[in-house]
Every structure is written in C-alpha cells, then in structure tokens.
C-alpha cells in the first residue's frame, strides 16, 4: 500500500457535474411511453405559451366584420363574438395559465419547504403548531380554499397566484416534513453528526438533496392543479379579468355561443385537458424514475 503502483493521473474535477446520474435517470425515463407523451405535451404547452403570442398578433384586436367565424386561413382557430382571433387568445391564455401554475407552485415551494424542514428537524412546539395549522387547512377542499382566498385577495393575476400558492402550502409543508422525519433517521445523517456537521449543513446537504425526488414530483403534480385552479377562478370571475386572455375566461364567454361557435369552447377546454394531462403523466414518470425502490 505504501508504493504507488498506478501511473500519475490528472486530478479530475469530480464534484462539479452529476452528469452520469442524470444520464442514467434519463435512460430510465425515456424507455416509458406515457411519461414521454407527458413530456411532449408539456414542451408543446411551454412553446405555445412562450412563442405563441409572438407570432399570433394582438389578442385584443377586435374585428366586427368577422365575429364568430369558423376556423379559416386567416384565423386558424376561428374568432369570438368580438372578432378577436381565437389562436391569439389561446396563446396568450397559455401564458396566463403558465404563470399561474408555475409561479404559484414555486412560491408555495419557496415558503413551504423551509417551514417543513424546520418543523420536521426541530420538532417540539414548532412542529405541533405548524402541523395543527396544516391539518386545519387541509380539511378544506383545495378549490374551496382557493376560491375563498381569491375572493379576499381580489380578482387579478396576482391575487390568483397568491391564492393558489397559499392553497398549495399545507401539502408542501406536510410532504417536506415527512421526508425530513424519514431521512433524519438515516445512517448517513448519524454519520454526519458524528463528523461534527452543523444543523444547517445536515438540513441542506443531507436532508434536502435526498428528499428532492418527492418534492419534484409534488411540484409537477401541483402545477396542473394550479392551472385548473386558475381556469376555475377565472371562469367564476374571481380570477384574471378581461381583456387579459385566460382559458377560464374564454370558456366562460363561449357558453353563450355554444350552438353558433362550439370551437370557442373546444379550444380552451381541450388545452386545459392536454396541459394538465401532460404535467400529470410527467409527474408519474418522474415518480417512477426518482423512486429508488422502482426497478433499474
């Protein structure tokens, strides 16, 4: 052991990339058809939300000579009762949906994960108080809770995002706390304590990275719930206000013209269904891949 038998090798920067782990997960993910369909739908949704409004023109431009037109070359998805291009409105609505879904989920994660970490790690009175509050809020159905909050916060995109993120918060806290409780008992956490690691180090280097899987899955499942939540609130008039396009508002407006222009209800309805289906399939796939108990 005293003698070096191997030729000198250059020191590699080993702790920068986690590339091979990612490659392995991607190989596992790619083999499954349903998650790949989900990923495709999500990517299509993102492309529509990001690039759609750039090519579609003004979603608020009215044309009274072309109201309630069926799909045509000029208006590929038709026009509404004010002669506005349905494609432009659907594309802008995708942006609204994306903002509501992603922003509210990110906000809920940013607030809920630290609370869950602290409650699960320090236990005692902090845990008791937090978890009783979580239990109380979880007793309300998600949408009832969100509708109530949106009514208080006032109808606007900002109000919708805040209401939806607050409604998601209890679930995020509970999942994070559960992960902390499980992982703090792991041998590698005991080993870290025995090496003199501080609480912050144990929380952010040991517990958080090893609970990332369930939290990522939670996020992908929460986004479609929030998208439906935004559409519902807007449909009820508690969310985004006209003239800002939203799939929920479009559905609500289309009700009056179901017999003359059914496509006005079909497009936003179909897109809500496809976007949420995509995120859910993606979430299921991630759960399978990130769960170490599932196969190779």
């Amino acid at each position: 052991m005293a003698e070096k038998t191997h030729p000198p090798e250059p020191i590699v920067r080993w702790n920068s990339g986690r590339a091979d782990r990612r490659r392995r997960l991607w190989r596992r993910f790619r083999r499954r058809p349903m998650p790949m369909i989900g990923l495709t739908l999500v990517v299509a949704f993102l492309v529509l939300a990001v690039f759609g409004p750039l090519v579609s023109g003004d979603p608020s431009a009215q044309d009274y000579l072309a109201t309630l037109m069926p799909p045509s070359i000029d208006h590929p998805l038709g026009t509404d009762d004010l002669g506005r291009d349905a494609f432009a409105r659907v594309a802008s609505g995708a942006r609204t949906s994306l903002q509501a879904g992603v922003l509210s989920t990110l906000l809920a994660m940013a607030v809920g994960i630290p609370i869950g970490l602290a409650a699960g790690f320090y236990r005692r009175w902090l845990d008791s108080i937090v978890m009783r509050l979580v239990d109380v809020t979880l007793a309300f159905p998600f949408l009832v809770f969100a509708v109530g909050l949106a009514a208080i916060l006032g109808p606007s995109l900002r109000g919708v995002v805040l209401a939806l993120s607050f409604a998601q918060l209890p679930a995020v806290i509970r999942i994070t706390r559960g992960e902390v409780l499980a992982i703090r008992e792991m041998d590698y956490v005991s080993a870290a304590i025995a090496d003199g690691a501080t609480d912050g180090h144990i929380l952010f280097r040991y517990i958080l990275p090893n609970s990332a899987g369930p939290l990522i899955v939670q996020a992908t499942v929460a986004i479609p719930t929030a998208i439906i939540g935004e559409a519902t609130l807007s449909f009820l008039g508690l969310g985004v206000q006209p003239p800002t396009p939203s799939w929920g508002v479009m559905l609500s407006d289309a009700q009056q013209y179901l017999d003359q222009a059914p496509w006005l209800a079909i497009w936003p309805g179909l897109l809500i269904a496809l976007a949420t289906l995509g995120f859910n399939l993606l979430g299921d796939g991630l759960r399978d891949v990130l769960d170490p108990r599932s196969g190779p």
Partner: protein
C-alpha cells in the same frame, strides 16, 4: 495521562417503563495509539459506552453520569458547539453499515473534502488533493477515479474504506469503530482490519473497536474490555485474556468460537454455547448478573455483586470464583 479516561460511567434511557440502565458504572482508559476492544453480546452496553464519548446518544432521553475525559478535558459538560468541533476532528466514528452511512446524493470525494473543509479550513483544491491521498491511504485502488464516484457505485468493503478515510481525514486522536466489519463479507473483513492496524501504526490513532467477534479481538486488539449486562466484567491485555481468562463469561465466549469447537459424543465437532439469556436491563438486583448462566456459580454469587478486582498485572475481573488458572 491516558488519552481517554472513562470513570464510573452510567447511562440510562427514559422509557415508558422507567429509566433503563444500559451502562452501569463502567471505568476504563484508552492509551495513545492503543487498539482497545469493547466486546460482549448484543445489548451488553458496549455501543452505548462508546457512543457516550462523542455524545452521540439522543440527548432528550439519555441520563448520563460519571466522567469522560479526553486529553484531560471533561467531555460530559462541554457546550454542544465545542463538542461539534471535537466530533470528526479529535474523535471520529466509523459505523456498522457502510452502504447506508454515506450520503447518496454526493460523490465520495465531495464527502471527504466536506469534513476537511469543515475542520481544517482547507481550500477546495487542497482538500481535493488530500481526498485522493486519503483514499490511497485506506487502500482503495485507482483513487483518482474513485473520488468522482457515488456511494452506490462502490461495494460494501469500498464504502467502509471510504468511511474510514472520512473518519481519519482530520487525523483524530481517537477513532471509534462500531462493529466495522460485521456487515462485510468474511473475505473483506481481514482487509478492513488491516487498514485499522495500518492507521494506528502510521498515524498513532487510538482505536476503540466495538465487536462481538473474539476472532477480531485476537487479530487486532492490544487490550480488551469484556462487558456483560452493562458492566465491565473483565479487562486485560489480549494475550493475557486469551491465555488466562478469569471471568467465566469470557471463557464461555472463547469456547463458543468455531476454532474452539470440541468433538461431541456423536463424533462431530460442536460449538459450546453459553446457556440462558442476557438478563433484562429493567431489573438490577445486588448479585452477579451472570450467575444464572454461570457453570461455576455458588451461593455467594447471589448474595452480593462481585467487584472488579485485580488478578495480576493489568488484569481485572469481577468474579468471586475466577477461572482455575494460577
């Protein structure tokens, strides 16, 4: 002065049935560069005794009394922040389960540098170079490649070597190894024990080796403390212990080794077992805890508890009727 001086250590745990005493008045010392084996059956208190040194027992439910002095400093009363500086730096621990004792989210190299940067304030570059040296020190082939691998890419024996590398990264004075070879293949065990021996020889690290395997004790330890039902019943240098065991329990453990198997009446080699069970930790009558299982028990064994007495140079045993050696 010994490196570690444990005096009259008693450890109890609060449970619903009252306080359960896992360790009852244990005293022993560890010299610099010495390999001390703490041996005994499951539940005899050997792990609790050792884990009390770096204060790794659950603080909320642990009732501890007695004294633990490292290099003259009383550890039982140190503030938690100072204790944290001692853990990993002066006293390091290697656990039993190597496969689950490494953080699965980071490379082994990162985990070694983490300890170095915490306690030694090394730069990232210096820590990385040191990590490669440490992996080489514990006998991992191609350390330049292994530093970049994740724990799941390594075998159990490799993981245990990495754990040892992390433990000795800051050149601790005392290394506590809790059954370090129990979870490993027999073929790997000898290699890992060689690593411990080599570290002691090269770095002068004192090692407390917790084990139930007397084969391991004979192989590597300088001195042994045999524990039974929370008490030290015998302590002696290893050659002395194996040549002249005084406590019937130590003798029983040696007879139970495969090498000591005797030929039975049917002509097949049989292991000699110690009859009976370990007594419940809830009761603690004033008598020898081993007497129900002891072949040489007599009336006085239940009258009072035998004290730990000197039987020759550096040899202590707690028995009224010690083994029949001169």
């Amino acid at each position: 002065m010994s490196l570690l001086e444990i005096t009259d250590l008693t450890v109890g745990f609060d449970t619903e049935d009252g306080t359960v005493h896992a360790v009852k008045g244990v005293s022993f010392g560890v010299e610099r560069g010495e390999i001390l084996a703490l041996c005994g059956e499951s539940g005899c208190g050997k792990s609790v005794t050792a884990m009390a040194v770096p204060r790794l027992l659950p603080s909320a439910t642990t009732r501890l009394s007695g004294s633990i002095k490292l290099d003259g400093r009383e550890l039982t009363v140190l503030p938690e922040a100072e204790m944290r500086r001692i853990r990993g730096k002066e006293v390091a621990v290697v656990f039993q389960e190597p496969m689950t004792s490494l953080n699965p989210s980071f490379t082994v190299g990162y985990q070694i540098t983490e300890v170095l940067r915490r306690h030694e304030r090394l730069s990232a570059r210096a820590a990385r170079a040191r990590a490669v040296e440490l992996l080489e020190l514990v006998g991992i082939p191609a350390p330049h490649r292994r530093v970049g691998e994740y724990p799941h890419q390594l075998s159990g024996g490799m993981c245990q070597r990495v754990m040892i590398a992390i433990a000795v990264a800051c050149s601790p004075q005392l290394l506590i190894a809790d059954e370090p070879t129990t979870a490993l293949d027999v073929t790997i065990q000898a290699g890992v024990l060689d690593v411990f021996r080599d570290l002691r020889d090269r770095l002068g690290t004192a090692i407390i080796l917790i084990t139930h395997d007397l084969g391991v004790v004979a192989d590597i330890a300088d001195r042994a403390v045999v524990m039974y039902a929370g008490r030290a019943v015998e302590q002696a240098p290893v050659e002395e212990l194996f040549a002249r065991p005084r406590h019937p329990y130590s003798l029983g453990l040696m007879r139970a080794l495969p090498a000591a198997a005797v030929v039975g009446p049917d002509g097949r080699r049989r292991l000699t077992e110690i009859p009976g069970m370990v007594p419940s930790p809830l009761s603690d009558p004033q008598e020898c805890a081993f007497h129900p299982r002891c072949p040489s028990a007599q009336a006085d064994c239940t009258a009072s508890r035998p004290p730990l007495e000197r039987h020759g140079d550096a040899h202590l045993a707690a028995c009224f009727h010690p083994g029949g050696h001169p």
